[in-house]
Structures are given as C-alpha cells and as structure tokens.
C-alpha cells in the first residue's frame, strides 16, 4: 500500500515550459519534503513544509517553488525548467521534525523529469 504517492512517474516538458509535480500522502504526517536526485548522487533537499510553514534550503534556485494546500498534498513547481533540472524528484514525509524514537522519512517512488 503506497503511503506517499507521486504523480506522474515520468514527466516530459519543454525547455522553459512550467511544470508541476505532485505528491500526496495517506500518513497524515506533519512534514513533507521535496528532494532532487541526479544520477548516482544522493538526494538533495530543496525545501520542506512543517504543516503550513515553508522552509527553503539556502541553495535552492528561485526557479523552484512549492505549495501545500492541505495536509495530504504538496506540489513542486518549476517555473522555467532548464536542461540542468532534468532529474528524479522525490517527495518524502515525516511525522514530525523531532526524531522521537527514530522516526524516519517515508519516500515516494519519485517523478523522473526530462527536459526537451
């Protein structure tokens, strides 16, 4: 049973054309994260939401935005995708920011974004 669901699994867009990736969760977790993962590299955190509080990583380009309209859904918007933005985008959730009992993050399958 998928608990963190990302749609679509594969997304193709054109250079400069805005694209939105979606993530939903059935865990009722407070925290949702977006990562960018390039080939054979570790995931790189872009930003996260704690409830409605948005936290951007210092080195995340302005081209990347996020929305969280409710607890279950979180979106990643890329305003003007460049060739360097082609990557796997991972969504993850966590019950809280504190590691009570070592609560890990739960990851989705990812969306692989290609730029033409």
């Amino acid at each position: 049973d998928a608990m963190v669901i990302q749609n679509p699994r594969y997304q193709v867009t054109q250079f400069g054309k805005p694209v939105t990736l979606s993530c939903s969760q059935t865990l009722n977790h407070n925290v949702m994260y977006w990562y960018q993962q390039k080939s054979s590299q570790a995931p790189k955190l872009l930003f996260h939401y704690y409830d409605k509080d948005f936290n951007n990583e210092a080195d995340t380009p302005d081209n990347f935005q996020s929305r969280r309209p409710n607890t279950s859904f979180c979106f990643l918007d890329i305003r003007s995708p460049g060739l360097g933005d082609a990557a796997m985008y991972l969504c993850a959730t966590s019950r809280d920011l504190q590691a009570r009992g070592n609560q890990p993050q739960h990851f989705g399958d990812g969306t692989r974004l290609s730029i033409l």
Binding site: P43, A92, N102
Partner: protein, 112 residues
C-alpha cells in the same frame, strides 16, 4: 553542521562473501542514524535504524561513538543485496533540524 561520510562510492563482492559498507559521522551530540537502501527502480526505503539494534535482511549496523562510525555489515552477501546504500543522520538542531543528512551513497554489487 552534521556530516555523514561514506568513503566508498563503489563496492563489489562475490556472493557468499562478507560485506561491510563504511559510514562515519560528525556530530557533537547523540546522533540519530539510519541506513536507507535504494534497489533498482524502487523507492528509497529504510533498512536499519541504530536505536533498534535490529538485523534486517541479514544486515546489522552498530553505532561506535568512539570511532564515530555506523558501518553496515552482512556476513554472507546475496545477489539481491545489490543496490545503492545511504547512511543518514537525523538533524536534532541548528540548520539540520528535522532533516536527513545523506552520505554520498555506496553502490554495492554482488557478483554470482
């Protein structure tokens, strides 16, 4: 800031051989450490958490505070263990609060 180091990008062993994936961390407090695994075309998933002191799929990992290490070990590797392994720490404060700090990852290949 927390740091997690996996010194080996690639590790190859033969089936049945012991395997050890190295992980070192830098953190002044009590670390919360995990091993995550990513099999080909599958989602990133939790393998082990240090506080549980469990064995999953034959893998164990012991926290060694003196050496600041959390190495992942398995006495007899299987072909299905081939995957990318990440050692992670959970941020308890500062700019790492509420975030996973990833190691660089180790690609394990188990040959028949």
């Amino acid at each position: 800031a927390q740091r997690v180091t996996q010194p080996e990008k690639l590790l190859s062993v033969f089936k049945g051989a012991p395997v050890e994936l190295k992980c070192n961390y830098s953190y002044s407090g009590s670390p919360e450490l995990f091993w995550y695994v990513q099999y080909s075309r599958q989602r990133l998933q939790l393998l082990l958490r240090h506080i549980s002191r469990e064995s999953i799929k034959g893998f164990t990992a012991d926290l060694n505070k003196g050496e600041t290490s959390f190495h992942l070990k398995k006495p007899f590797a299987q072909e299905e263990d081939s995957a990318m392994y990440y050692c992670n720490s959970w941020g308890a404060g500062g700019t790492s609060y509420g975030k996973l700090t990833f190691g660089q990852g180790t690609i394990l290949t188990v040959h028949p």
